[in-house]
């Protein structure tokens, strides 16, 4: 076995897994708190990558400024999305929320195709060609930064959810909406923050991955489908479950990509999801079936 090849696959998988986790945790947070499946989540990831591309390539922002600006814009978009569209959905919302956000996704995706065509853009910066050498094993700096940013975001999200008042309120709403209402939690403020954080995380993911892969208007679509599989595997609405499942999926996919035929690589996410549903419907890390 070629160990440096194996280690390379492992690193790539880990980076991909962390990025999946950022997207999937946002999706899971929004589902947990609002019971809304955000179909347009992948489009926000795509728009974040596009924005990162334009900031860096056209207006000469440096790496960290780009990350910061895109994440802040993501949070702002989340606020607007909640106040503008999601707030209008009340009561029995699940199917309506999917159809609504799917309409949004169609507008964003086809609008982006209309404006930017489907040509992929490669974000080239100083970072693109920098590597850290460990023995004969090359580690691209852009991937390492993406990995670091991902873990930093996990830590911040964990602290928000477990140490702050509003974070605890958010988990309270996710666990039992009626009880949260009764103890006086403002569901609207909590939901708004959840959407803002969710879209912000996606923005961060898009910006961090923009220097690694090509940027184009259709990239969000396949991505969100993996994120859906991840939140099922991790347990619907279970945020840390989604994070763990995402990292696992990233690594398994990368290893499968190196060792198995192409068709199987893309099927890994779907097959693991079906297996989990059959064997452990509440998800690998679920606390029991939520209705």
């Amino acid at each position: 076995v070629d160990w440096s090849f194996f280690a390379q696959l492992l690193l790539n998988g880990l980076v991909m897994g962390v990025i999946y986790a950022l997207v999937a945790m946002g999706l899971s947070l929004i589902f947990g708190v609002l019971e809304i499946v955000n179909f347009a989540h992948g489009e926000f990831y795509m728009l974040a990558s596009m924005l990162a591309y334009f900031l860096t390539a056209q207006w000469g922002f440096d790496y960290w400024a780009t990350i910061l600006v895109v994440t802040v814009v993501g949070v702002a978009v989340g606020y607007v999305l909640f106040e503008g569209l999601l707030l209008a959905l009340r009561g029995e919302t699940f199917e309506r929320s999917i159809l609504l956000t799917m309409g949004l996704s169609m507008v964003l995706q086809n609008g982006a195709v209309f404006l930017f065509t489907t040509n992929p853009h490669l974000l080239e910066s100083k970072l693109s060609y920098q590597n850290i050498l460990v023995g004969d094993f090359r580690m691209p700096v852009a991937r390492l930064y993406a990995l670091g940013l991902g873990f930093a975001a996990f830590a911040v999200l964990y602290l928000i959810l477990h140490r702050t008042r509003i974070g605890k309120a958010m988990r309270g709403v996710a666990q039992n909406r009626a009880a949260a209402d009764m103890v006086g939690i403002d569901a609207r403020a909590v939901s708004r923050l959840a959407v803002a954080i969710g879209i912000g995380l996606t923005g961060l993911a898009g910006a961090a991955l923009a220097p690694v892969y090509a940027v184009h208007p259709l990239m969000g679509f396949n991505f969100v489908f993996k994120a859906f599989a991840i939140i099922i595997i991790g347990g619907l609405g279970n945020i840390s479950g989604a994070a763990i499942a995402a990292v696992m999926l990233g690594v398994i996919e990368s290893l499968a990509g190196g060792l198995l035929p192409l068709a199987l690589t893309d099927a890994v996410a779907f097959l693991s999801m079906i297996a989990v549903l059959l064997l452990r419907p509440q998800g690998l890390f679920g606390r029991g079936v939520r209705v």
Partner: protein, 327 residues
């Protein structure tokens, strides 16, 4: 409309549809008719699942493509007749539908929506990345002309657009007939009950899982068959048969027509088959407009046109009767 008027209208409509190729010999009109026949069956099946049993399904396009690929491969590689290939495709779709439905509905209808979506996307990926089976993204061009043996030793070679018009329109009539029979029967009432109030339906002895699996199987069968017939009209199959575009168009038909409204969805599929094509929108622009329509429909009238008409009707029933004039 009374039952008698309705059946007269249906018979008149059927005669008009089947006389159309005799009156207008125009390939463009035939093409619109064929696309209406195919899309209306897909939308009708989706309406059965979503409109009647309340499950949002993205799997229809997967069954459409599986039906198409199964029929193609059996005809091209194995030399089967189209009819046997289409039948096997339909049965395979039922098997897949039961697998997806049973595994995800154990959890919730939320899980079903997500699993059906992943399934549809997986189909596209497999069709593209498994060239040993599907010939990959190049697809399989040059599908042979289907021949149907009619009673009395006649052979119908299905070549011209008008032949395919009769084939697909004929199947569409059968398919909508089957859907109509289901939704107006006891089965349809049970399905509506499940959608309106699942715990209450359960407490009356209705098992939601079996009705949902039934609706899912029927719509999978119809979508699979229509897929098998449609690709022989196109004479090529490639992974774009699984394009999300079909799903979006179907969902728009159902949402605008009114989920749970048989005639509403049928009418909206006719309008959506004809109108955008005649207005010559580019695909990007069309999808942006569909997206806007979906958002507006969800925010303002989630029941669609059918739901709106139904609410008006209910309001009319509830209106107090005018008092008899005082003597």
């Amino acid at each position: 409309m009374t039952g008698r008027e309705l059946s007269l209208a249906v018979i008149a409509g059927l005669i008009a549809l089947f006389a159309l190729p005799l009156v207008i010999e125009n390939d463009y009109v035939m093409a619109l008719g064929i696309s209406f026949a195919a899309m209306s069956v897909l939308a009708g099946g989706l309406n059965l699942i979503y409109g009647y049993t309340g499950l949002l399904s993205f799997a229809q396009v997967g069954f459409f493509g599986i039906g198409g690929y199964t029929a193609t491969l059996l005809v091209v590689d194995r030399g089967w007749s189209l009819w046997a290939g289409v039948a096997v495709g339909g049965v395979l779709c039922i098997a897949v539908a039961l697998l997806i439905g049973y595994s995800s509905l154990r959890l919730s209808r939320h899980a079903f929506a997500i699993v059906s979506l992943s399934f549809a996307l997986l189909c596209a990926i497999v069709a593209r990345d498994w060239p040993e089976l599907t010939r990959g993204s190049m697809g399989i061009p040059g599908l042979p002309t289907p021949v149907m043996d009619l009673p009395g030793g006649l052979r119908w070679r299905i070549v011209d657009p008008s032949d395919f018009y009769y084939l697909l329109m004929g199947f569409a009539v059968i398919a909508h007939g089957a859907i109509y029979l289901v939704v107006t029967s006891r089965l349809g009432r049970a399905m509506r009950a499940i959608k309106l109030n699942e715990p209450l339906a359960q407490s009356q002895g209705v098992n939601p899982l079996s009705y949902r699996l039934l609706a899912l199987s029927l719509s999978a069968l119809l979508a699979g068959i229509v897929g098998g017939l449609f690709v022989f009209y196109l004479t090529i199959i490639d992974p774009s048969i699984f394009d999300f575009y079909y799903t979006e168009t179907m969902l728009i038909s159902v949402v605008i027509g009114g989920p749970g409204s048989f005639w509403g969805v049928l009418a909206s599929s006719a309008v959506l088959a004809v109108l955008p094509d005649m207005l010559r929108f580019t695909t990007d622009l069309r999808m942006v407009l569909y997206g806007v329509a979906l958002i507006v429909a969800m925010l303002i009238f989630p029941g669609g046109v059918g739901g709106w008409l139904y609410r008006r009707q209910v309001a009319r029933w509830r209106r107090p009767k005018p008092k008899a004039p005082a003597p």
